[in-house]
Symmetry: C2
Subunit: 699 residues, 2 copies
C-alpha cells in the first residue's frame, strides 16, 4: 500500500495547459540555454557565475594530483564568503571564484535539465548534460569528496565550517540533480558520483565515535538524502538524513564547537540556522526562510519513513506558524533582509519584504510533502498560492531576468536612495552573484506536474488543475485521466475518465514497484483499487461557491477540502465550476503593516497596481469597498490573463495657501472617481520601472 | 548698529516659567551631577564614559613627557572607532577608551555647567569646573594639541584622518564650552587652552602652502571658531572658520587624499559629510543630520560677518529642503539610521526614524542663527516645534534617562525582535557609549533664554514665550520687560514694559560693547532707540486666531510673523492671546508613510497615544475627523500638562469561522466608539514600556 502520497513523475503527465505549458516551454527554450551561457560566463553585463570555471579548474587539479609527483595540495586561507578575481577580466584559471556554494548552481541546472528531458526528450541537451556530468565526475576526489571550493582552496580545512560553508548544501543539490537525471534518463553516472560524496560525508559526520557531530548550516541534504534512499534503497542515506534532523539544535551546539563563541556574539545565529532548539521542540518558524522550509520539507519526508508522530507534529506546528503569522498574501516568506529571515510574529512589511523566490519555492516543497502525508487543502491552497504569486513573480515574461526578492510594494526612488531597501529591485535582474533563485525556478517549473498529482493508497489526488492527461493502473484496468482546465480564466475544470485497457498486472500485495524503471511504455502510476478513485481538490478560495456535475449518481464526500469520488468508470466526466471572482482581502488585525489596507485576489491570483496603468503616488488611490470590479481577459506580452478594473478614487490635496508645507491642518482631500487597473502580481515589472503596490487603502 | 540679532545672555534673563524653569532646575539639580558621575564611570549599569579616565591618563603622560628622559611617544595603531578595555572591569589606566570623540562629552558638560552657573551661581560647582579645566589644561601638549585619543594612542598619526577621527569636532566643542565658561565666570583659562588648540590647528590646516587642505569630518568647528572670534576679536579664528566652510566639497576631495578611494567605495560617504559639493552649491540637506545642521549653523553665523549673499542663499535653500521635505512633525530630522542621515525626499518612516536628539538640537541652533539674520516665524516656529517635541522627548521627566533616537511610532516587540529597529529603544537609556545627546540637551536647556530673545538694531525680539524678565537699555532709559506666559496652557501672554531708569549711557555710534564684561550690575542688552521697541512673535500655529490688546493707540504692523510695536513706554502692557486648541494635522501627500494618517497638535505641542492609556494595537484606533477633542489640565509626574481625549473608534475584527487566518475576505470591522487619550509627545515613555504612536488613522 502506498500509505503516503507519491508525486506523479513529470514524464507520466502530458501537460497541454495554456498557462503552465508556456512556462515549461519557456524554461526549455529560453531559461536553460540562457543559464548555460550564464554558467559559462558568456552573458554580458550579468554577474559572472564561475561555475564551469571552477569545475574545470578542479578537474585540471585532479589530473595533476594523480599524474604529477610534484603536486602539492594548496593550503587553505579564507578569502571571503564570495571570492572575486582581483582583475575581473582575468580570473586565475586555477582559482575558485564565486560564493562558497557556487557548485550548487550547476546541480540545480542539471535538475531542471533532467525534468525538461523527461517531458521533452532532446538528444543535444542530454549530450550536453552528459558532458557536464563527466566534468563533475572528473572534479571528484578519489575519496569521494566533491566541493570545488575546498578542492581548489585547500582541503585541509574542508568540513571545518559546516555552519557557513555549504559543503552539505552542495551535496544536497548534487543528489537532487543526480536522482532527477537518473529518473529522467536511466543513466546512473551522476547518481553514483553523488552517492560517493554522500558516502564520504557519512564516513566523516555522524553520531559515531570519531566522527564530527555536525549537521548542515544550510539545510537541504536532509530531503536530498531521503530522495537518494528512495532512489537506491540504501539505508545509510536515510540514517544520515535522520541523524541530521535529530542532531540539529542539540546542546552543546555543534556550531559553537566550530566557532569559538565570541563575547557577545548574537544568539540570533542559532535561530538563523534553525539550530536554536531540537527540531521537535521548535514551534515558531525562525531564521533564514529558505533554510527553514528546506529543513521542514526534510522533516516531512522523514515522517513518511519513520512515522514518528512527534516529527509530524512539529511539521504541523511550524506550518501553522508560517501560514498564520509569517506569510505574505503572495505566499512569499522571509520578512527581513537581515539574515534573509522570518521576522517576528505578524511583522510583514510590504516595501522591505525579503520574500526570496527560493523561499516561496521551498514553501511549495514543504506543502507538497505535507500533502503526501495527508491530502488537505490547507497545504494545497498555499502551494497553489505560492506558485501563482511568490514563485512566478521571480521570472520575467521573457525568461531572461529574475527577481531574488519579491516585495509587495515598490517605490523605485526608495530602492535607489534608501540603503535599507537596496535589496529591493524595481526591475528584474539578468543574474545574481548569489544565483540560487533562477535555477530553482527552472527546476520547479519543469517538474510542476509532480505537484499537481499524487497517488496515494487507492486514489489519485488532483491538487492543482492544469490541462493535462495521465494514465493510472488499477487492478481492474488502466485508465486515462484527462483534465481540461481553464480554472484561472473562468473556474471551469472537466475531468474525463477513459478506460484504455481492461487487464492490469498489479500485484496488490507488493508495493516495491521499481519506481525507476525506464520502460516508457510502462505506467508507473498505480492505485490499489479495481476502479478509478479520485481525490479532487476544492480550492479553499471557492469552498463557498462551487458546483460539481457528473457525480450525481455516486456517493461522494468532502474531507479536508478534497472531494472523494470512487469507482469511476470509462466515460465518466466530472464538470467542476469554482466561482472565481475578484475579492477584496483584508489582513488579520495583528498585521499592523496592513492596517486599513486591502488587496484584491481572484481565485489564487493576487493582483497589484502598477504606475504604468495608474500613474504615480499609488498610495493616494482608494478602493471603493462598495464598488464594482470589472474583469477583462486581455493579452499581456505573450500571456493571456484576466485584468481588473476596480472602482475607486484618487485623492488629491486641496489647494492651500502653502502647498509646499510638509504638514497642515486637516482638511478632507478631494476624491476623484477612478478605475484602478490591477494586474496579476506575477506579471508586475514587465513594463520597465515604476511604482507597484499589492495593497491599497479602502474607503 | 546691531545689524544682526544677538542672543540675550542666559544671565540677563530671569526665567520663572513653570515649564522651562523646571527643565533648567532639573539640569542643575539632577542632570549635571548625574553626568558628572557618568563621566567618572560611577553609574552602575550605564555604559562607561572613560572621559575623566582619558584626561587623567593624558595628564600623567604629559608629566612623564616633560619629566622623564626615557619617555617614548606611543606608536599609533588603530584599535577601532570605539575602543573598549579587554577586561571591562580593569581598564588600563594609561590607555584611551571610548569613542574617538569621547573628549567632547566633557566639553559639553562644561558648557552646560557654564550656563547653569550663569543662571544660578554655585561655588561648589564652579570649583569643580575649575578643577576639570585644570585637568584639561594639564592634558594639553606644549604645542597646543589637545585630543586625548591621539595623545594616548600615538601622535604620529594625528590629523591624518580628519574624516572620521573628530579632532576638529573636539576642538569645536572645546571652544563652545570654553567661551561659555568665560562668559559665565569671567575666567579665561579654559578659553586660552581652547585658543591654543585652535592656534595649533590653524598652523597645520589651511589653504597656505605646506598646510593640510582639510576640513572637519564632523562639523561644529565652523560655528565654534566664529564664537571664539566673537569672544576674542582675533581675526584668524574667523578666517579659519571661513576656510573650513569654503573648502568643503571642493574637488579633488580632501577625504580622497586621506583615504585611498577603494574600488567601488560608495559615493554616499561624501554626502554623509556634506562634502559632495561646495556648500554654496548644495540644495538638498543630505548625509548625517547632526553634521548637516551644525554646518548650516556655521554658514549662517559666517554670513553675519561676511555678508556673502551666496552663503545666505544656500542656508535658505537648505533650510527649506529640511522643513519642506525632510523633517518630522516633531522637528526631528534624520530619517535613516544608516549613517544617522537624512533619507530621500519625503521619506519619513515613523517606526524606524533616527531623529537623533542632537539633530533636533542642531536644528534649533540653525533656526536661532537664521533668526539672528532675519526675524521670521518660518525659523522661530520650527525652533519652538523642535524644542517642545524632538528635543524634550530626549530626556526623561526625572532627568536620569535619555533617548538617542526619537521615533514617532514604537512597537516594543519590533525594537527587540527586528534587527532593522534595534536602534529604536522603547524606553530611555541611562547612558550611551556614544553619549553625544544627554550633555547636548543639558547645554541647550540651560541656555534656553538665549533662544527666547534676541536684540537686533532698534528692537528686542521675543521668539519664545516663557515667564521671565530682562532689562534693556535704550538711549532714553532702561526698561524692564516682564513677560507672563501661560502660552502652552491657555495661549495667554502678557508683556509689561517698566521703565526703571531714565538715563542710559549708550553711545549710539559704538557697537563694540564689551560683551564679556562681568559686572553683573551692567545691562548687556542694548537697543538703539530712545524708547522700547519690540518684535513680538505671532506663532504660525495661531496666525489665523490671535488677539492683541494694549496696542490700540499705536501703529503696529506684522512682518514675517512678527508684530512690530514701537515706542513703548513705562506701564505699557500688551496682552496677547494665541488660540491654542487641538488641531488635526495631515501630511503633505508626498509623504507616503503618513497616507491616511492624522496627528494631533495643540499649539506647538505634538501629541501621541500610548498603550498605557489606550491598550495595545494602537493601529486599530481611528480618530473621528468630525468628532470633538476634550482638553484637560492634569499633572503627570511632577509636570502639569494639557491632555487630550479625542473622539474616535477602536476597530475590532468580526468573528469569522477561522479567526486565526492571516488573510480573509473583506468584511467591515466593528467600530466601537472610544475616547483616545493623547499625551504630549515629550512625555512619552515615562510609564514603562509600551506601544506609542504619534499618527493614528482618521475615519
Amino acid at each position: 500500500m502506498n500509505e503516503f502520497g507519491r508525486p506523479i513523475k513529470p514524464s507520466d503527465i502530458k501537460i497541454r495547459d495554456s498557462f503552465w505549458a508556456r512556462e515549461i516551454d519557456l524554461v526549455r527554450d529560453v531559461v536553460i540555454p540562457y543559464q548555460w551561457d550564464i554558467l559559462n560566463d558568456r552573458v554580458k553585463d550579468a554577474s559572472p557565475s564561475f561555475v564551469i570555471h571552477n569545475f574545470n579548474a578542479a578537474r585540471r587539479m585532479n589530473k595533476l594530483r594523480t599524474e604529477s609527483p610534484e603536486f602539492e595540495e594548496p593550503a587553505y586561507t579564507f578569502r571571503g564568503f564570495e571570492v572575486l578575481p582581483e582583475d575581473k577580466d582575468n580570473p586565475d584559471p586555477d582559482k575558485f571564484y564565486g560564493f562558497v556554494f557556487q557548485d550548487s548552481d550547476l546541480y540545480k541546472f542539471l535538475e531542471a535539465v533532467s525534468y525538461s528531458l523527461e517531458i521533452s526528450p532532446d538528444e543535444k541537451l542530454e549530450a550536453l548534460a552528459d558532458q557536464v556530468i563527466d566534468l563533475i565526475g572528473d572534479a571528484q576526489l578519489e575519496n569521494g569528496y566533491l566541493d570545488t571550493y575546498y578542492i581548489l582552496s585547500g582541503m585541509d580545512k574542508s568540513l571545518t565550517n559546516l555552519r557557513d560553508h555549504h559543503e552539505l548544501y552542495c551535496l544536497g543539490h548534487m543528489i537532487e540533480g543526480a536522482v532527477a537525471y537518473y529518473e529522467a534518463t536511466g543513466k546512473d553516472k551522476f547518481m553514483k558520483v553523488a552517492a560517493r560524496y554522500a558516502d564520504y560525508i557519512d564516513e566523516k559526520i555522524g553520531p559515531e565515535e570519531g566522527k564530527l557531530r555536525g549537521y548542515p548550516g544550510h539545510e537541504i541534504a536532509e530531503m536530498a538524502l531521503i530522495r537518494l534512499y528512495e532512489a537506491t534503497g540504501i539505508d545509510k542515506y536515510l540514517k544520515l538524513a535522520s541523524y541530521f534532523i535529530d542532531e540539529r539544535g542539540k546542546q552543546p551546539y555543534y556550531f559553537d564547537n566550530e566557532h569559538k563563541p565570541e563575547n557577545g556574539a548574537p544568539l540570533i545565529r542559532y535561530h538563523y540556522h534553525q539550530a536554536h532548539l531540537p527540531v521537535r521542540q521548535q514551534t515558531e518558524a525562525v531564521g533564514h526562510a529558505v533554510r527553514a522550509v528546506y529543513l521542514y520539507s526534510g522533516m516531512a519526508d522523514m515522517y513518511r519513513h519513520s512515522k514518528d508522530e512527534s516529527l509530524l507534529n512539529a511539521c504541523k506546528i511550524l506550518w501553522d506558524s508560517i501560514v498564520n503569522t509569517k506569510m505574505y498574501l503572495t505566499g512569499g516568506i522571509g520578512a527581513t533582509h537581515i539574515g534573509e529571515s522570518f521576522s517576528f510574529l505578524f511583522d510583514l512589511p510590504n516595501d522591505i519584504a525579503y520574500t526570496e523566490t527560493c523561499a516561496a519555492i521551498g514553501l511549495v516543497f514543504f506543502a507538497r510533502r505535507m500533502l503526501q502525508v495527508e491530502p488537505d487543502i490547507r497545504y494545497s491552497d498555499i502551494m497553489e498560492l505560492a506558485l501563482y504569486n511568490g514563485v512566478l513573480s521571480g521570472i520575467s515574461l521573457d525568461g531572461r531576468s529574475f527577481f531574488y526578492t519579491n516585495p509587495l510594494e515598490v517605490l523605485p526612488n526608495a530602492c535607489k536612495n534608501d540603503e535599507r531597501k537596496f535589496h529591493i529591485k524595481p526591475v528584474r535582474q539578468k543574474w545574481f552573484g548569489c544565483a540560487c533563485c533562477p535555477p530553482n525556478i527552472a527546476r520547479l517549473l519543469t517538474s510542476i506536474g509532480s505537484y499537481a498529482y499524487t497517488e496515494q493508497a487507492d486514489r489519485l489526488f488532483i491538487h492543482l488543475y492544469m490541462t493535462s492527461s495521465l494514465q493510472v493502473k488499477t487492478s481492474g484496468g488502466i485508465y486515462r485521466v484527462e483534465v481540461e482546465s481553464s480554472i484561472i480564466e473562468d473556474g471551469n475544470v472537466t475531468i474525463k475518465c477513459i478506460k484504455i485497457e481492461n487487464e492490469s498486472p498489479v500485484d496488490n500485495g507488493d508495493n516495491n514497484i521499481d519506481k525507476n524503471q525506464k520502460d516508457k511504455n510502462n505506467i508507473n502510476n498505480i492505485i490499489e483499487a479495481s476502479k478509478l478513485n479520485l481525490g479532487i481538490r476544492i480550492p479553499g478560495w471557492a469552498k463557498k461557491d462551487y458546483s460539481v456535475e457528473g457525480l450525481e449518481d455516486r456517493e461522494t464526500y468532502v474531507e479536508k477540502g478534497y472531494l472523494y469520488a470512487s469507482d469511476l468508470e470509462d466515460g465518466d466526466q466530472i464538470r467542476l465550476h469554482f466561482a472565481i471572482k475578484p475579492r477584496l482581502i483584508m489582513s488579520n488585525e495583528n498585521v499592523f503593516e496592513n492596517e486599513g489596507k486591502l488587496a484584491v485576489k481572484r481565485g489564487p491570483i493576487v493582483y497589484c497596481a502598477e504606475e504604468a496603468d495608474n500613474g504615480d503616488k499609488l498610495w493616494r488611490l482608494r478602493i471603493d469597498t462598495e464598488g464594482q470590479i470589472k474583469e477583462s481577459r486581455e493579452t499581456f506580452g505573450d500571456v493571456e490573463a484576466t485584468f481588473l478594473d476596480v472602482d475607486g478614487y484618487r485623492l488629491r490635496a486641496r489647494a492651500e495657501e502653502d502647498d509646499n508645507a510638509l504638514y497642515r491642518e486637516y482638511v478632507q482631500d478631494i476624491k476623484e472617481k477612478t478605475q484602478i487597473r490591477m494586474i496579476p502580481y506575477f506579471l508586475w515589472a514587465n513594463r520597465g520601472e515604476g511604482e507597484m503596490s499589492v495593497y491599497l487603502r479602502g474607503i
